[in-house]
Structures are given as structure tokens and as C-alpha cells.
């Protein structure tokens, strides 16, 4: 049975595409048909992934075969692929249901079929990326994934920023794909095979190209994972798409990059060199800290969430880095711990980031703005969205009993466990990574206090916010599902880790031993126990504490007296509220070395002592755009300008080039043995 699930999922998505095209004149029917087909496809991949995770045996099959050319495109769902398929399905299915409701207002009705087609193509290609068993299928799916995403980012293609975002996304994607093609061809040239089982099975033990190969894959997959400094496209492209697509991109698509990094990092290229793990840990730390710092200073709700995606990708990378350091030190159990921690965080991130983007989508649909400064007070108008968004904020801030805490706790463990076995420099780098993770987590808490409180609390700061209405049940139910996932994944880390022990054990460099045990009661790290976590034990304690607090405040609960907050003699209004800019200001000042803020204050004076009008402008520097990509773009354009010399536009000249090239190639090949 499980052998047919993967083709079934692809067929369901293809049905979605066909239905969307047939029903393109009837947007409502088109939405229901295409997105329910998509959700059904996700259910099929979930079932497939779950069965592989349960049995631990890979499911293989053939999708397309051309005996004449000797070409086969197949799929192979091993536990690692299954973990990513399950993660993707857990996010994609609720988001598809959300899309049915959201797209009714989120986009022009005439564009429904376009989005529905691109959506199903995207899902199909991402699932194939996770399941591909060889280079050919993988690269085709990878490219299709980039194109479908670019189409979705450009949904609102009348607006110039949307088009620019899509272009930036395509340009960066192709930089990455180029590196991947080069990497895979180098691998294939060495082994003469295009099947992952041959080239990523840990066979490359000694080759002068090993270092270059790893760097190529790191860049290629790093672009998709949003690793700093390859992240520049992410905060542009994720918010530009409709919110349902943003949720899928942030929670699901960066996982494609992380998946690739696990494939090559966890022994896929043989035992990692010591420098690789350090490099990944360093990149992860930088991504995590910079991601959360930029998120904190951001006042566009969706851009804030996109920057936080860079942060969470960084946290997963830190764990992978720690795992790779463990592997290179010959400690498979540390490798298992690091990769398990990172993979757990990937699943958790899909749940809470999906939830937050869907909530933000509800807010954008209700108010028409993404600017936090123009929101506020929505908890009175949209109580359910507010409650769910608060839960997502607490989860992403890494607070106990929710899933973000469980996986960040594991990342801490993977960093600290490595300490006992690492050599000189690595030994101090690991706890320092822990300190940076602590900083990231605390900054994320500040960031999401801002994201939630300034969006939903106090008074509305615009008319749109004051007149917002609650999202429909079709929008709220998927959020409730993801919120429930956040709670369940936080309360039961043990069973999740038991599954992850199997996933880590299936990786080529690790094998079946594990440095942690997970049961229903909780998780234990190391033998003898280094640390353990059982959230369930804490539940009655927290409940008792809350009960005591409620009992102590009982008198007040009976007679709540309401009065306007004291305004120092003046009257408080929406204008006197603390703003999002002001909230982030102290941290912007503290980290001004990173932010490089510029500000401009000009007073327009009319009365002798009081300014009648003050204009204030402040901006955060964009160092990567300015110092890396700006010069790089100019260099590429200049080189292209030079090359124009040979682009004469004359057909004869081009035919001559082909001839000359052909002769050179023949001469070169003839010289080979």
C-alpha cells in the first residue's frame, strides 16, 4: 500500500492543477477544488512519511523510465526524507485549508486559478525534492520549486516591489542552483553514477575536492535555507507573496535547503572535516543573531516574521554544526544528538511560523496593512486570532511547555555535550555558541513581545485597525490546528525524539547508536544523565501556581473597576502610546554597531518656544546589500557590458562561435585517453 502513496500524492496535486485550470472562471469552486486536492496530496505524503518513520524501512519506486536513454527517475523515501515530508505535510495541509478562505479576499478573483496552479506545482516539486533518489529528478524538482515560488511571489505583479522581489529570488536561487549543479557533477564525475545512494552514501572519503564540494553544497543549499549572508532575498520574497504562500515559504521551503545540508553534512560526503562543523556552527550563529536583530527592528509584521525565519534556520544550523563537530571527532552519538535537535527545531518552526504567518495574514486581510505602527487594539476586535498569535509568539520565543523551548533545549544540549569531547578551539567555541543561542532566544522574546503586544494590545492606531473584524472559521481552524501542534510537540518531546533517534540512526555517518533516550515521560541526554526534561511533570506545578495566583486575586476578579490609565494630567490616546519603533529603540542603540542606524530630525518652528511640527526619519543600515551585493551586482553588470563586444547580433558571427567551440571541444576530447 505505502508504495503507491507517493505517486498518489503527485496525482492529487496534478488533479489540483487540472481542476484549477478547468474551473478558472469560477474562483470559489476553483479554490475549493484545487486546495482540497492539495490538502489530500499532503495527507498522502504524511501517511507515507509516517509509515516510513514507524517502520524505519525506506520506500522506493519509479516515477518515470526511458529505457532507450537508460534514464530512470525514481523516488526513495528513507527516514530523513520521511521526516521532511511529514514536516512539510503538517504545515501544507492546514495552510491549504486556510487558502480556501484567505484567497477569497487576499487576491483579485481573476488570479485564483494562477495561484492554485502554482501552489500545486510548488507542493509537487517540494515533495519530489525531499523524495528524489537521484541527481536528475532532484535538480528538475529543485528548479521547478524555484520557478513556482517565484511565480507566487509575483502574484501581485502590477506592483514594482513584488516584481523586484521575485527577480531577486530568482537571481539568488540560480546562484544556489549553479553551485548545486557544479557540486553534483563533481560528485558524479568521481563515481560515475547519478543516484544519491551512490554519491551521497558516504563514499567520498578522500578527495582533494572534498572541501570545495562541501562549500558548493553549503552555498547551494544555504541560499534556500536563508543563511546569512545569502539571505538577502528572503525578507523581500516571503512578505511579498500572499500570506498563505508566505507561511508555506517560511515554514516549509527553507527546509528544502536544510534537508540538503543534512544529506551532505551528516556523513553524506564521508566523515566531515573538523572545519566543516565549525563553519556551519559559525554561519548558524551569525544567521540566528543577525536574523533576530533585524526582526526586532522591523515594523512590517510580515517582514518581521521573515527575518525571524532566518533566525530559526540559523538555530537549526547551529545544531547541525554541533552534530558535524561530533561526527568529525568520531562521536556518532553527538552527531545523532545534534542532527536530532536541528530536525526537531525544523518541525517546530514549521508549526509556529506557519501559525504566526497565518495569523498575520488574518490581520492583513482584516486591516489592509502590514505596518505594526498602524495596528494595535486588535485583541478586542479579533480575540481568537490574538489568542492564537500569542501562543505562537510564546512558542517561537522558546518559553517552556511549548515546542520552541523543547527544541532549543535540545540544541543547548548538543552544544554542551560536544564540549566534553571536542579539541582545543572547538571546545571553547561550543559553549560560546550556547551563549549566542541564549542571546538569540532572549532577543526573540523581546521581538515577539513587540510583534504581539503592539499589534494586538492597547488602542488601535488607525481607523482600519479600529474597524477590523474577526477572521472566519475557515481561517481560524488551521491556526488552531498548528497551535495544538505547538502545544503537543512541547509537552511530549520524548516520543518525538524516539522517532528522531531512528532518523538520525539512518544517516550514513551515524548508525543506530544514540546519545539520548526518549520515552513518554521525557528525554534524557547522555549516560550517565547529563540533563533531562519532562514537561509533563511541570504541568501540575504550573497549574497549581496559577490556581494560587487566581485564588489570591479572587477578590479583585469579582469587582473589576475600570478607569482610564493615568496620563500625567493630559489625556492618553492612540498617539501617546508606545510605538513599535520606540519599543525596539534601546536594543537598536545597544547594537548600533550592527544596525548602523541613521536618523534625521527636523523641526518646523512657528511658535517661539514650541515646535509646531517635528519630522522624524530613522533607518537601519543594510550592510549586506550595500557592501556585498551592491559591488557584486556592479561587477557583474560591468563584465556583461564588456562581453557585449562579442554579442554582435549577427547570425553569422554566432554560427562561427558554435563552429569554433565545436572544434575546440573535439580537439580537447581527442587529446583525452
Amino acid at each position: 500500500m505505502s508504495a503507491t502513496w507517493f505517486p498518489l500524492a503527485l496525482v492529487l496535486h496534478a488533479t489540483g492543477v487540472a481542476l484549477a485550470l478547468v474551473l478558472h472562471r469560477r474562483p470559489a469552486a476553483c479554490r475549493w477544488a484545487a486546495f482540497l486536492a492539495s490538502a489530500a496530496g499532503s495527507a498522502a505524503t504524511f501517511a507515507l512519511g509516517a509509515s516510513v518513520l514507524a517502520t524505519g524501512r525506506a520506500v522506493r519506486g519509479v516515477l518515470f523510465e526511458n529505457p532507450a536513454a537508460g534514464m530512470t527517475v525514481g523516488y526513495s523515501v528513507d527516514p530523513l526524507s520521511a521526516w521532511f515530508l511529514v514536516t512539510f505535510a503538517v504545515l501544507a495541509a492546514p495552510v491549504a485549508v486556510y487558502s480556501v478562505g484567505y484567497l477569497a479576499h487576499g487576491i483579485p478573483p481573476g488570479r485564483t486559478a494562477f495561484v492554485a496552479v502554482a501552489w500545486n506545482v510548488l507542493l509537487m516539486s517540494v515533495e519530489t525534492v525531499f523524495a528524489a533518489d537521484g541527481v536528475l529528478g532532484f535538480l528538475v524538482a529543485w528548479e521547478l520549486m524555484s520557478l513556482a515560488t517565484a511565480a507566487l511571489v509575483a502574484t501581485d505583479h502590477e506592483s514594482r516591489p513584488s516584481r523586484r522581489s521575485a527577480f531577486l529570488y530568482l537571481a539568488m536561487s540560480h546562484l544556489g542552483t549553479g553551485c548545486l549543479v557544479a557540486g553534483f557533477f563533481l560528485l558524479a564525475a568521481g563515481s560515475g553514477s547519478l543516484a544519491f545512494a551512490d554519491i551521497l552514501g558516504g563514499a567520498v572519503t578522500a578527495s582533494p575536492w572534498r572541501g570545495l564540494l562541501f562549500v558548493l553544497f553549503l552555498v547551494g543549499f544555504g541560499v534556500k535555507a536563508g543563511v546569512v549572508p545569502l539571505h538577502v532575498w528572503l525578507p523581500e520574497a516571503h512578505p511579498a507573496a500572499p500570506s498563505n504562500v508566505s507561511a508555506l515559504m517560511s515554514g516549509g521551503l527553507i527546509n528544502a535547503g536544510l534537508y540538503g545540508l543534512v544529506r551532505v553534512g551528516a556523513g553524506g560526503l564521508g566523515r566531515p572535516d573538523p572545519g566543516w562543523g565549525m563553519g556551519v556552527l559559525l554561519l548558524g550563529s551569525v544567521s540566528a543573531v543577525l536574523g533576530v536583530l533585524y526582526a526586532l527592528s522591523e515594523n512590517d509584521l510580515k517582514r518581521l516574521l521573515a527575518f525571524s525565519t532566518i533566525e530559526n534556520g540559523g538555530i537549526a544550523l547551529m545544531a547541525f554544526g554541533a552534530g558535524m563537530i561530533g561526527l568529525s571527532a568520531g562521536r556518532p552519538e553527538l552527531g545523532a544528538l545534534g542532527f536530532a535537535a536541528g530536525l526537531y527545531h525544523v518541525l517546530n518552526h514549521a508549526a509556529f511560523k506557519g501559525l504566526l504567518f497565518l495569523g498575520a495574514g488574518g490581520v492583513v486581510a482584516a486591516t489592509g496593512t502590514r505596518r505594526i505602527e498602524e495596528l494595535g487594539g486588535l485583541i478586542h476586535r479579533m480575540p481568537r486570532t490574538a489568542g492564537l498569535f500569542l501562543l505562537g509568539s510564546a512558542a517561537i520565543a522558546g518559553l517552556p511547555l511549548l515546542n520552541g523551548f523543547a527544541s532549543e533545549w535540545l540544541v543547548f544540549q548538543s552544544l554542551l555535550r560536544g564540549f566534553f569531547f571536542a579539541e582545543r578551539l572547538t571546545r571553547i567555541v561550543l559553549p560560546l555558541g550556547g551563549a549566542l543561542l541564549a542571546l538569540t532566544s532572549a532577543l526573540a522574546a523581546a521581538c515577539f513581545v513587540k510583534a504581539f503586544a503592539l499589534t494586538f494590545l492597547a488602542r488601535p492606531r488607525s481607523r482600519a485597525a479600529a474597524e477590523a473584524t474577526e477572521s472566519s472559521a475557515l481561517l481560524l481552524a488551521p491556526q488552531a490546528f498548528l497551535a495544538a501542534a505547538c502545544v503537543a510537540l512541547g509537552l511530549f518531546p520524548g516520543p518525538v525524539l524516539r522517532v528522531l533517534a531512528g532518523v538520525a540512526g539512518s544517516l550514513p555517518g551515524i548508525g543506530p547508536q544514540a546519545g539520548f533516550t526518549g520515552g513518554l515521560a521525557g528525554v534524557t541526554i547522555g549516560v550517565p544523565a547529563f540533563d533531562h526534561l519532562s514537561p509533563l511533570v511541570l504541568v501540575p506545578a504550573v497549574a497549581l501556581g496559577l490556581g494560587l495566583a487566581a485564588a489570591l486575586g479572587l477578590r479583585s476578579a469579582r469587582v473589576p473597576r475600570r478607569a482610564p490609565a493615568w496620563g500625567c494630567g493630559g489625556e492618553l490616546s492612540a498617539e501617546t502610546e508606545y510605538t513599535a519603533t520606540a519599543f525596539a529603540k534601546p536594543l537598536v542603540m545597544v547594537f548600533r554597531g550592527i544596525y548602523r542606524p541613521t536618523r534625521e530630525v527636523s523641526t518646523v518652528e512657528t511658535a517661539p518656544y514650541f515646535a509646531s511640527e517635528v519630522r522624524y526619519r530613522s533607518e537601519i543600515g543594510a550592510p549586506f546589500e550595500r557592501h556585498v551585493y551592491g559591488p557584486a551586482t556592479r561587477a557583474v553588470l560591468a563584465a556583461a557590458g564588456r562581453l557585449r563586444v562579442i554579442q554582435a547580433g549577427s547570425l553569422h558571427a554566432y554560427l562561427a562561435y558554435v563552429l569554433v567551440l565545436g572544434v575546440i571541444l573535439l580537439w580537447w576530447l581527442g587529446g583525452l585517453p
Binding site: L432, G434, A442, R459, F530, S534, V542, A557
Partner: protein, 315 residues
């Protein structure tokens, strides 16, 4: 460690109640000692109990713009602080809820309380709440890495992040203290000052809006809501002092349930907390509050101390 749920629950409740009962006394003691330094009489030692009792009877007034988040904030803050106390070994070298988790869970619970209170502070629409919340989260974010490095130093020397295991390990080692651990203790003490809202980071006695952090955040609270915040803050301060004493000065901690050992341990703990309180008073009385944007420098000192502690302990 017993695994039978009933004794564990009783132990946990007893410890939480103990913290709740003693926290106001600590506040009173610090106020009294501070007054002595300033040659004042000061309020009586038990005044904080009367204050709490009065506040708990008073009717709270809430802002008209506030939602349920404003009401939930102090309650979550209170519950998280009380729960955190059960993760800490005090008189006996084991924590009641040791089975739940170790240092990281403790830090996480305190972060939960801070998150809840800062979020709630933004609910009234008063700029003071926002100002306080923003500053509190800033100081919290800067203190966190230093706190973690200090705790890692202790945890990595003991080979465990489990607090009970940690204290047992340090208690077994007796009075020999590694110089690196003195630095870690110093880093943790600076974090304690920040978390408890003490001079030179914050001033618990002021109500001048430009200088305050924690007090600005809770400015809109009154009645029982305020009582919960005050009480929980006291518990948190006592908790940090107990943690500091337990991790770095484990002299006299009972490793058996013999009544004599427990009595000595309890007295030793009280003495250690009193000594730390005196240290806090000394710092408060001899320092001026730092300008807010100088606080990061102090936190950088704590971070540096934590790093040096780790480096000295292991290299």
C-alpha cells in the same frame, strides 16, 4: 531521589510555600539594612508582609483599554516564579521537581514570567508600561548570555545541568573552590542585580519615570494584581540568591535527611542569603544608578567574567 508522586508533591509544595513565606522577609531585611546604611530607622522588618496583606485586600483598578492579557500577566509571572522555586535544591541537596528538568528549564521559566509581564505592560495604552517593558526586555536579553555562561561553567564542571546533581557534586567537593568559579559567581551576582531590578541597573525605590525599568513596567498595577507582582519579584530575588549560594558556596548543604544535618543546612542557607543580601545592600548604598545606556557595559563585564570563568576552568 524518590519517584513516589505524593512525597515529591508534598516536598514541592513545602518548598514553594517556604519561598513565598520568606521572600517578603528578604525584601524587609534589605530595606532595613539599607536604611541603617543611610542612618535612618527604616520600615520595620515585617513591613512587606503588611504591605502584601493590604494590597491583597484592595480593589484593583484596571485601565479601560486593557484586555484579559493585563489580568493574566501578573498571574503567569507569579506562577512561573513559584514553579521555578521547585526546581531548586535548597536545604537538602535535591530539588523537589528535579525530574522535570535542570538549569535550562529554570531559566526558561523565568523568561516565561518576564515575557508575560512585559506583554501585559503594553496592554494599558500608557507609555510608561511600554517604556518599562522595552527596557526590561533589553536588560533581560543582555543578561541572558552572561547568566548562561556562568551556569555553563558550573554545569560543565559537574558534568550535569541537573541542579540537584550540580549541588551534590559541589557539596561533595567540599570547600575547595576553583578560581574560575569565583568569576562565574561574580558574573551571576551581576545578573542577580539585573534580574532583581537593583541599583546600579534599576532602582526599586524610585518612581521617577525616566530612571525606572521594572517599576515603570508595573506602574499601572494596583491591588491584588500589584501584590502578585511584588510577591513574585521577591520570590525571584530569593531564588537567584539561593541559586548563587547553592552553585558556588555549597558549604553545609545536607546530603542526608538527618534532622541535625537539615537544621545546620537551613541555618547555613539563611546565613548565606543574608550575606548576599548584605552584599546587595553594599552595592546599592555605594553606587549610583547607571544611565540606561551604560547598563550594556556592565552586562558586557558580566559576559566577560562568564567567558573568563569558562576559559580558566577548562584551559
Amino acid at each position: 531521589m524518590t519517584t513516589n508522586p505524593l512525597p515529591v508533591a508534598l516536598f514541592a509544595v513545602a518548598q514553594a510555600v517556604g519561598f513565598l513565606m520568606l521572600a517578603p522577609l528578604l525584601r524587609g531585611l534589605i530595606k532595613k539594612m539599607k536604611a541603617a546604611f543611610q542612618l535612618r530607622q527604616g520600615p520595620r522588618l515585617l513591613q512587606p508582609y503588611s504591605d502584601l496583606a493590604k494590597l491583597l485586600r484592595k480593589e484593583p483598578v484596571r485601565s479601560t483599554t486593557a484586555s484579559w492579557v493585563f489580568v493574566a500577566g501578573p498571574r503567569v509571572y507569579f506562577a512561573s516564579a513559584v514553579t521555578a522555586t521547585t526546581l531548586l535544591p535548597t536545604v537538602f541537596a535535591a530539588a523537589p521537581l528535579e525530574a522535570a528538568g535542570g538549569i535550562l528549564l529554570l531559566v526558561g521559566l523565568l523568561a516565561l514570567g518576564r515575557f508575560a509581564l512585559a506583554t501585559a505592560a503594553l496592554d494599558t495604552g500608557s507609555p510608561f508600561g511600554g517604556m518599562g517593558a522595552s527596557r526590561e526586555m533589553t536588560v533581560g536579553a543582555l543578561a541572558e548570555p552572561a547568566l548562561m555562561l556562568a551556569l555553563f561553567t558550573a554545569g560543565l564542571s559537574a558534568g550535569s545541568l541537573n541542579l540537584g546533581e550540580l549541588v551534590r557534586h559541589t557539596a561533595e567537593r567540599g570547600t575547595s573552590i576553583h578560581p574560575g568559579e569565583i568569576l562565574a559567581a561574580a558574573a551571576l551576582f551581576i545578573v542577580l542585580l539585573a534580574e532583581a531590578g537593583r541599583v546600579p541597573i534599576d532602582n526599586p525605590a524610585t518612581h521617577l519615570e525616566l530612571t525606572m525599568i521594572h517599576e515603570a513596567m508595573v506602574l499601572e498595577y494596583s491591588g491584588a494584581d500589584l501584590a502578585l507582582v511584588e510577591w513574585a519579584s521577591g520570590v525571584k530575588e530569593l531564588l537567584f540568591m539561593t541559586l548563587l549560594a547553592g552553585l558556588f558556596f555549597p558549604i553545609g548543604v545536607a546530603t542526608s535527611l538527618a534532622p541535625q544535618a537539615l537544621a545546620i543546612s537551613a541555618l547555613a542557607l539563611l546565613a548565606k542569603v543574608a550575606a548576599l543580601a548584605l552584599l546587595v545592600v553594599l552595592v546599592e548604598s555605594t553606587n549610583a544608578k547607571l544611565r540606561f545606556f551604560r547598563v550594556p557595559e556592565l552586562m558586557a563585564v558580566a559576559l566577560g567574567l562568564g567567558f573568563l570563568a569558562l576559559a580558566m576552568r577548562f584551559f
